[in-house]
């Protein structure tokens, strides 16, 4: 069996006195798509942000591709990684946000080429041709020179996906990518994500789109109040949930 891409063992995280994650244990294999479901405040987004060290975990072990997130282990002691090392690891993990977070002062093309030029030291031409290809793949070949304010929410989110892919990540994190979109725009974004899953990208998706989860996910995890309530294949968790809490949630979402 292959080494897991993401492995969490008893991960705890608190903000001030509020414990947000209370012992998350799960793993994602390479090429797998995992969907995280749960009510707001259940810790899904926080867990996602811990995976690329935008948040520091307080206890437990979290590793990506066999390496601890944010630390190096020497014997029994953990050493914090330098900022540069953390940044390098983040550059291998793509992230897509609920509010898109495109850089508003840059065109779609500049949004996508910015990090490859700055972080990967690609030439403008290399980054540009790769960005054009990616923007074509998400269905926006004619929006290269548009600024984010001139694009619809769905188009912005697809630029954001292209921006993350431009770093050639080995793992993609999606934090409620369709929650801020008008219903009619959700489809295009999900389409781009399905295509990505079909190409074998390892993905963790926080979402309320159970249809997407059913169709694309290899594994569905239901979280509530900082713990994993239930995890399994989409048909198990979505069709035949064992836990009462899961059933309640699904009856409200569907």
């Amino acid at each position: 069996m292959s080494e897991p891409m993401v492995k969490a063992e008893a991960v705890y995280k608190r903000f001030a006195r509020q414990e947000v994650l209370k012992g998350i244990t799960l793993q994602v294999l390479p090429g797998e798509v995992m969907c995280l479901l749960g009510p707001s405040g259940s810790g899904k987004s926080t867990f996602l942000r811990c995976i690329n060290h935008l948040e520091k975990i307080d206890a437990g072990r979290l590793s990506v591709d066999g390496e601890l997130v944010g630390y190096r282990q020497v014997g029994a002691t953990l050493h914090e990684l330098r900022e540069r090392e953390v940044a390098r690891k983040r550059s291998e993990i793509g992230m897509v946000f609920q509010q898109f977070n495109l850089f508003p002062n840059m065109t779609a093309l500049e949004n996508v080429t910015c990090a490859p030029i700055l972080v990967r030291k690609l030439s403008r031409e290399q980054a540009g041709s790769r960005a054009r290809e990616l923007l074509g793949r998400v269905g926006l070949p004619d929006k290269l020179d548009s600024y984010p304010a001139q694009l619809s929410g769905g188009q912005q989110q697809r630029v954001a996906i292209a921006r993350a892919l431009a770093m050639e990540p080995k793992l993609m994190l999606f934090d409620e990518p369709t929650s801020a979109l008008d219903p009619e725009l959700v489809g295009d974004v999900l389409q781009a994500m399905k295509r990505l899953a079909g190409e074998g990208m390892t993905m963790i998706v926080v979402t309320h789109e159970t249809g997407f989860a059913r169709e694309v996910a290899d594994c569905v995890v239901f979280m509530d109040a900082g713990i994993v309530v239930e995890a399994g294949g989409p048909s198990e968790v979505l069709e035949h949930p064992r836990e009462q809490r899961t059933r309640e949630f699904l009856s409200k979402v569907l």
């Binding site: 935008l54 540069r84 946000f97 850089f103 990090a115 700055l118 972080v119 770093m167």
Partner: protein, 319 residues
């Protein structure tokens, strides 16, 4: 009776042509302003004490132009120092390191808390405080120790006084700009593998510029005129040059007019510069294209008497 679709042939009704509301108050106010303006212009032109001939004689006087050069030089150097210092102080104040943050706070507190004129006089007299300035290892041996009097000329005293004081004000302007950028921008940049410094320099500051530029334009205009304070420490700026001339020939008023003309010319040039800077850093902030400067100013001036005005500082009302 409700209308039933299909009973009337669909067609666009004619544009509304209504009699506009009369606004006599507006016309009266305009007439008063016009009369006042004519009276002022007339008195300025006809009052012989203005001595416009003398003004014309001295506008391009060599000493005046030399003073103007010094004024511009002081403004530019002091603003460059102020902006660089302001960015450093702002980033320090937002640093998680408490020593850096409080150091920046103290600096701002001190330099905003004392008048710039006092600071200028302090720097001018610094040799009384520190006769020798030593450069070397702190608390250790010094490598060079020049005399403070030769190092701090009136010009360097002016630069130090104006620049260091400006840094404190710019720090607050830059800080306001930085905190105006949503935190999601930083998340996005960090998730793409940018370091803290890259995020600040490439993502946060360029966006902060939209907020930073207007008050910085204000500061630059203010600085241009504040430089006139340096005449008290014997720096030969524009005002100092004029004072020199009128203390000899007693043509005080015309020379002060010459000075005013040059200050107003310089601020007008700064207006134009600020407009283009704002337009550059405003990229992507609106859905429409941007109108050129002349068009926008014209629209602002013509706004009077119109019913709908979108832009311009003119007297038009909204809606």
């Amino acid at each position: 009776m409700s209308s039933v679709p299909g009973t009337e042939p669909a067609g666009r009704p004619e544009d509304i042509r209504a009699v506009p509301v009369r606004r006599p108050g507006r016309w009266v106010a305009a007439a008063i302003v016009l009369v006042l303006a004519v009276a002022i212009v007339r008195s300025v032109v006809t009052n012989p004490n203005f001595q416009w001939g003398v003004v014309g004689e001295y506008v391009f006087d060599e000493r005046i132009l030399e003073g103007l050069r010094v004024t511009i030089e002081l403004t530019v150097i002091a603003m460059v120092i102020g902006i660089v210092l302001g960015v450093v102080l702002a980033v320090m104040r937002l640093s998680p390191n408490p020593l850096l943050a409080s150091g920046s706070w103290l600096y701002i507190w001190f330099f905003r808390g004392t008048p710039v004129l006092v600071q200028l006089l302090f720097w001018y007299n610094v040799s009384a405080l520190y006769p020798k300035i030593a450069l070397g290892i702190p608390f250790g041996p010094a490598f060079v120790h020049p005399d403070a009097n030769t190092l701090i000329t009136p010009f360097t005293a002016a630069i130090l006084g104006l620049g260091l004081n400006e840094g404190a004000y710019m720090a607050e302007i830059v800080r306001a700009g930085i905190i105006s950028v949503p935190s999601g921008q930083e998340d996005a940049a960090r998730s793409l593998g940018m370091t803290r410094l890259q995020t600040m320099a490439r993502i946060v500051l360029p966006q902060a510029m939209r907020v930073i530029i207007p008050p910085t334009g204000n500061e630059t205009i203010s600085m241009l005129k504040t430089t006139s304070l340096v005449s008290v420490i014997a720096v030969a700026d524009l005002l100092f040059a004029a004072e020199g001339i009128y203390s000899a020939n007693f043509k005080t008023i015309p020379l002060l007019i010459v000075v005013s003309i040059w200050y107003i010319v310089c601020t007008s040039v700064l207006y134009i510069g600020q407009y283009y800077l704002e337009r550059y850093y405003g990229r992507g902030s609106s859905r429409e294209g941007q109108t050129p400067l002349a068009g926008r100013m014209l629209r602002g001036m013509l706004a009077f008497g119109r019913h709908r005005v979108h832009v311009g500082p003119g007297g038009g009302e909204r809606r």
